[in-house]
């Protein structure tokens, strides 16, 4: 199979997955007890008012009609309107997504820059203090629930020492950058500073588990590779140890790590819900929680579709990278 065909096949599989997500989320609405009308109408609303609201929202149509209408509108890029606010779902998702992606990317960058060196050090200095430090850190990091970590960080660093804001997001990175180009370096630097102050704690909270996980993976991957015969062969050829470690061993170790990175990035986008909630971070996770509480199905559907599609895209990219690193994947 050629590389192009491989990608096409994966792409088509992705489309089917997204369609599955759309359908399941849509059906969930009908097996969930309670009607969306309850979210819109006050408790004491008369049956007539409920009926009118249902008609206005199109909920009086049969299930298959609603489903086909929804699919047809989705194909045209229309994700519907919020039951509650009447605002377009696509507009809401588009304005919330950057905050979530920003948080996921910053968490991942922090995690990658910390974890891979930590893992390498840990593996190359096995059973030395650095190794014990790194393994202890990763054990604690994997075992700590992130909502608890978030609350503790806020209590210590925000409430007690006043170093960081407790919650919220002053600017997006892009807005801060725009301020820099529009209003000059000092205003821009100030905006960047505000941006950074707000994202530090949520990013640490979200990234800790990830950092710990990749550290462990890198360590065990490196150890495994270091024991391979080709390493001894290269050693025997007289290659310098650092070249062996970083050019050959680390490169081979990275393949499974990239898979996990990709999967985890998807998880970060979808799984930032709790962290976003703790920090009132105005991203897709917060939107999702609000939509669930309000039974705002169009927003709920739009958020889940975007999260689902995000997973699929990240996986596609991972597959593409993976395949280019290891041609055997394409052949399989």
């Amino acid at each position: 199979m050629s590389y192009g065909r491989f990608l096409l096949k994966r792409g088509l599989q992705g489309v089917v997955v997204v369609w599955g997500v759309i359908s399941i989320v849509f059906l969930l609405r009908f097996i969930t007890p309670g009607s969306p009308v309850d979210a819109v109408a006050p408790l004491d609303a008369s049956p007539e008012l409920r009926q009118r609201i249902a008609e206005e929202l199109g909920l009086d149509q049969p299930l298959y009609v609603q489903y086909l209408d929804y699919l047809w509108e989705l194909l045209q890029g229309d994700m519907g309107y919020s039951y509650i606010s009447g605002i377009e779902a696509s507009q809401i998702v588009v304005t919330k997504l950057p905050a979530t992606i920003e948080l996921a990317v910053v968490s991942s960058l922090v995690a990658i820059t910390l974890s891979i060196p930590l893992g390498v050090i840990s593996a190359t200095r096995r059973h030395q203090p650095a190794d014990y430090g790194a393994t202890t850190f990763s054990l604690v990091g994997i075992s700590t629930p992130n909502f608890w970590l978030g609350i503790m960080l806020v209590l210590l660093l925000s409430v007690e020492f006043g170093l960081f804001p407790t919650s919220g997001r002053a600017f997006g990175f892009v807005e801060a950058f725009r301020i820099m180009t529009a209003q000059g370096v000092s205003a821009g630097a100030d905006a960047m500073f505000q941006w950074a102050r707000h994202i530090v704690l949520p990013a640490i909270t979200l990234g800790t588990y990830f950092t710990a996980l990749i550290t462990r993976l890198t360590r065990s991957g490196m150890l495994e590779e270091l024991g391979q015969s080709y390493v001894q062969a290269t050693r025997a050829k007289g290659l310098p140890e650092s070249l062996i470690r970083y050019k050959h061993v680390l490169r081979n170790t990275l393949i499974p790590i990239i898979t996990v990175l990709g999967l985890q990035l998807g998880t970060l986008i979808g799984g930032a819900v709790i962290t976003e909630s703790v920090f009132s971070w105005p991203g897709l996770g917060t939107t999702l929680i609000n939509a669930i509480n309000a039974r705002d199905w169009p927003i709920l559907q739009a958020s889940l579709i975007v999260i689902g599609a995000g997973f699929v895209i990240v996986n596609l990219v991972v597959d593409a990278v993976y395949a280019s690193l290891d041609p055997q994947v394409v052949a399989e």
Binding site: D44, A45, E55, S280, T287
Partner: protein, 552 residues
């Protein structure tokens, strides 16, 4: 912390003889310039104390003379409900806020945070930040009706009438109001008021706004349609700066409704814009002008310097939201917020022990109760229903579950509301009496299940567990709790069909009109939208009450 620490007997006696007048002043439009009906209102209960049950132990209503006023009928209906116990009467909720020392502000019973009333107490109190549990559900003030949204949109939109901090009716965009005849009232519209866009407020805007809510041909399927209950339409009075509002029948609480519902919008602005635009922008007449709106993130207002009253004291107002209570508390403690809403009991001490922050608690308009369906076993027995009330130690629930942020209630109507019966006391904790009543009801050995929403009301599950626990402690009843999703429970209760309701369920009910009828009619009359009870005598009392003008 609250007036429940004072002896109840003393307070109730006082209310029984003089307090109904006070209740009227609180609930009614005493200060509003209303010219409605009898000015010598509400004397019948003080003249004839037996009418409101001043004789205590006697609970046969037929032995009392018929009431003469609407207030009297509502009080009698409350007595009937107390005696027949369609509910386990629980408590009145408190609204608990955290407040920064940078501002001066007092909470209101109806949970609306009126930023116009906030004064800076220090230099940093000029830009006020309110952090609540959720953001608005859109900025169209006629399309939504819940406290978080009100706390945003009503800083910029105003109604014809409004309420003061105690719940009394005051003028807003109306300068005067009067009842012309049954089903017809007239508002005089204030001049020299302009919308934020610069357009002047006209009677056409007022008539359009009312019709947009109540008339399907003019407007939207507004959730407020049923809250302006009975109002059928509005029209401009020829040659006058006035608007006539029509109702079906007498509509005794119509002014009270307009004090809580029906914000006024700019007709030309609404007509020129899409629904989605109206939900993300504001053109009101209020003391604050919208600066920026980030949906679900924050709303920033600036002071309206062209306001028809004096401009507000604070220069800007920001409303944000954190769904996590601990996040709100942390934002107050680190001085990022000036007012936070819904402080849970376990967080109270953190706020009180911190320099520069304090707790502000006020009895809300919400009552928490357990409805018992009158048409199913064992709740079809009044004795059994009374037994459940005797079985629970309400004082202990309030003390231990609610950390004293609640007042016990003996009736569906709250203290200070129009129609409150000051002579009713909560059922005492008397497990022996409860056990005997269960025997008398013939349902000894029965198993019952209390359905409760999770997380909808303050410590709702814990309250339900306590109630079921007390009942389960009786040797002849087994009780348990069924935790439910609120929306699913609400769907069953609100579908207009009694048979789909759980047999026994916990619910809360807010009443922004400060009038007994808005609780009694939907929740307890035979054809109420959420009723669990049918009682001819009760229905008759309510029907009589609604045929009389309010003494407001």
């Amino acid at each position: 912390m609250s007036d429940k620490d004072t002896p109840n007997v003393g307070r109730r006696k006082f209310l029984g003889f003089a307090g109904t007048a006070a209740a009227t002043a609180m609930a009614g439009c005493g200060g509003g310039g209303g010219t409605d009906t009898d000015g010598e209102q509400n004397m019948d209960d003080t003249d004839t104390p037996t009418d409101s049950g001043g004789d205590g132990g006697d609970d046969t209503p037929t032995e009392r003379p018929e009431p003469e006023t609407r207030d009297g009928y509502l009080q009698r209906a409350n007595r009937r409900a107390h005696d027949q116990s369609p509910w386990v009467f629980l408590n009145r909720q408190y609204s608990v806020y955290g407040k920064s020392a940078d501002i001066e502000w007092e909470a209101r019973a109806d949970e609306f945070i009126d930023a116009y009333e906030i004064s800076p107490a220090t230099d940093s109190g000029d830009d006020v930040v309110i952090n609540q549990s959720s953001m608005d559900s859109g900025l169209d003030p006629q399309d939504h009706r819940e406290t978080p949204t009100d706390n945003i949109v009503l800083q910029a939109y105003e109604g014809l009438l409004d309420r003061d901090r105690e719940g009394g009716i005051v003028n807003k965009l109306a300068t005067d109001y009067s009842r012309i005849e049954d089903g017809l009232i007239r508002f005089q519209i204030r001049s020299n008021v302009s919308f934020h866009s610069g357009d002047n407020l006209t009677p056409e805007d007022v008539a359009y706004s009312i019709n947009r809510i109540v008339d399907p041909d003019t407007g939207i399927a507004s959730p407020q349609q049923d809250q302006l209950a009975g109002v059928t339409g509005a029209e401009v009075v020829d040659g006058e700066r006035a608007v006539d509002v029509m109702s079906e029948g007498l509509n005794p609480i119509v002014f009270s409704l307009f004090a809580s519902y029906g914000p006024i919008m700019n007709k030309s602005w609404v007509e020129a814009n899409e629904n989605s635009y109206v939900n993300q922008n504001i053109d009101g007449t209020g003391p604050f002008v919208l600066e920026t709106y980030e949906q679900d993130v924050q709303v920033v207002f600036n002071r309206n310097d062209n306001y028809w009253r004096e401009a507000a004291e604070i220069s800007s107002l920001t409303v944000t939201a954190s769904s996590e209570a601990s996040t709100r508390v942390n934002s107050l403690l680190s001085d990022e917020s000036d007012i936070i809403v819904n402080v849970p009991p376990q967080e109270v001490s953190r706020i009180e022990n911190n320099d520069g922050t304090s707790i502000s608690a006020v009895p809300s308009t919400r009552v928490i109760f357990n409805a018992m369906r009158y048409d199913v076993e064992p709740f079809d027995s009044a004795e059994f229903r009374q037994a459940v009330n005797y079985a629970i130690d309400l004082e202990s629930i309030i003390e231990n579950v609610l950390d004293t942020f609640g007042d016990p209630t003996a009736q569906p109507t709250l203290d200070g509301f129009f129609g409150y019966n000051g002579d009713l006391d909560p059922y005492p904790y008397d497990p022996d009496e409860a056990e005997a009543l269960v025997e008398a009801s013939g349902y000894a050995g029965v198993e019952v299940e209390l359905h409760t929403p999770v997380g909808r009301y303050l410590n709702d599950v814990e309250i339900a567990q306590a109630v079921a626990g007390y009942l389960d402690d009786l040797p002849n009843v087994t009780a348990s709790v069924n935790q439910r999703d609120f929306s699913a429970l609400a769907s069953e209760v609100t579908d207009g069909n009694l048979e789909t309701n759980p047999h026994w369920y916990l619910l809360g009910w807010g009443n922004e009109t400060f009038d007994a009828s808005q609780t009694l009619i939907p929740l307890l009359t035979s054809d109420g939208n959420l009723t669990s009870w049918s009682d001819e005598e009760f229905d008759r009392l309510i029907s009589e009450a609604q045929s009389l003008p309010s003494e407001q």
